[in-house]
Symmetry: C3
Subunit: 181 residues, 3 copies
């Protein structure tokens, strides 16, 4: 089977469950942006990170596909058994945040995103995660989305923020504070 099926050449695509929707449907934007986020996390994994962090990021990539499947399913038509995110998936992020945060100086100001290629790339991933969250919140205002999906994305951007700070610290990269005028 060819990779290009041409079934989307008309601008329509097929959700899990068989419903045909235009590609500019908010649902498609949601899982498309999760895909973009996933690609940035893949990029982060290519830079010098510890194998413990790498394992966390692979777990996150796997879960983003689970989220993608949930978002790609028409809630009214699909009867496919899909993995629903659990409270432990959220806890997994919180535990990782707490662990890293414990090693960091308390923050009382915003910091300029940047400092090294690795740290900057994590900040970009953080922003794409928040872009995905905004779209999923929009979808959730129109139809039912599992609550844990929104919570997971909210926590994931905080995880990425703390990861950026942790990677900066581990590489002696100075944090620059924002000075409001």
């Amino acid at each position: 089977m060819k990779i290009y099926t041409k079934t989307g050449d008309s601008g329509l695509t097929t959700l899990i469950g068989g419903t045909r929707v235009p590609k500019d449907h908010i649902r498609v934007a949601c899982y498309g942006t999760i895909d973009e986020l996933n690609s940035y996390i893949g990029l982060v994994r290519c830079y010098a990170i510890s194998s413990a962090t790498d394992t966390q990021l692979e777990e996150i990539q796997q879960l983003l596909f689970a989220i993608g499947a949930v978002l790609a399913a028409d809630p009214e038509k699909s009867n496919m058994k899909l993995y629903a995110l659990t409270t432990s998936d959220v806890k997994f992020l919180e535990k990782a945040i707490d662990q890293m945060d414990g090693e960091l100086p308390t923050l009382k100001h915003f910091i300029l995103p940047g400092g090294s290629i690795l740290v900057s790339t994590i900040h970009i991933a953080r922003c794409v995660c928040r872009r995905a969250e905004r779209l999923v919140v929009q979808l959730a205002s129109a139809t039912s989305v599992p609550e844990n999906v929104v919570i997971y994305l909210n926590r994931l951007s905080d995880y990425l923020f703390i990861l950026a700070r942790k990677m900066a610290k581990d590489t002696d990269t100075k944090e620059i504070i924002w000075h409001a005028r």
Copy 2:
């Protein structure tokens, strides 16, 4: 002539044909996102790729400008002769896909985007291409857009997916499969 003409300081801009539209018009988002995609393809070309692939990507960059011009023209006002994408432009991508795909193991699962900086960057470009496609599909639902533009973008994201896989193979980068839970 200065690069900054200040004509857009009010939030309006000029389409080919002279029509003034606000910058948040969907048409402007379309060619603006094609520009973003084009920049990512430019980035991909900076990493270690064969000169044959580089030539393909330059051709794609040139065509993205042709697409940009078509999208920037007011169909009701412009009488500028613009290059319309042809079936051979789409075939060019299909031939390249088939050639690369022939060297790749058949895929029966999703793969995690990532593996190397080059491969990850191609996946990001793929996602930006799909973001552009979503916007162009939205534009096409409101006004007439040459059919080949949508088809070209649809095929281009498949080309980028196969290119990512091919670059992974050429550099012995392992593909990680998504395991649905």
Copy 3:
């Protein structure tokens, strides 16, 4: 205090001034995209640039936070004294553009975005800047936004274009012209 306050788990967030809005509100997209732009500028600063350019980019990052604060404030509820962009902030960009442009050959055609990792990353930042501008223009059509914010973003993308050209020239990177067919 933990970084994750959980106050956004429901999909709502708090503007400066105390108003609760859904995260898919256009205002949130505006400062969220300014954040994404800021992260790309942080990334640009990690590559080989002169310290004069680095100082300009840090100033720009600081101002993007000032813009973020203005955009995050509910104009009807907030009475916080926020820095309003001035004409000199715009002039700062224009002076930098003029200085760089003076050293560059006149352009009579579009150039393909790319050439080196640094140059490509600046082009991506330019496109994200224009994406932010489109959103801010949309916000300004619904509510009052300080005029200088739109002007600053408009000029910033021109600054980034000229910076990309200047960095290309300084590193003997060839510019490739777009040839309309």
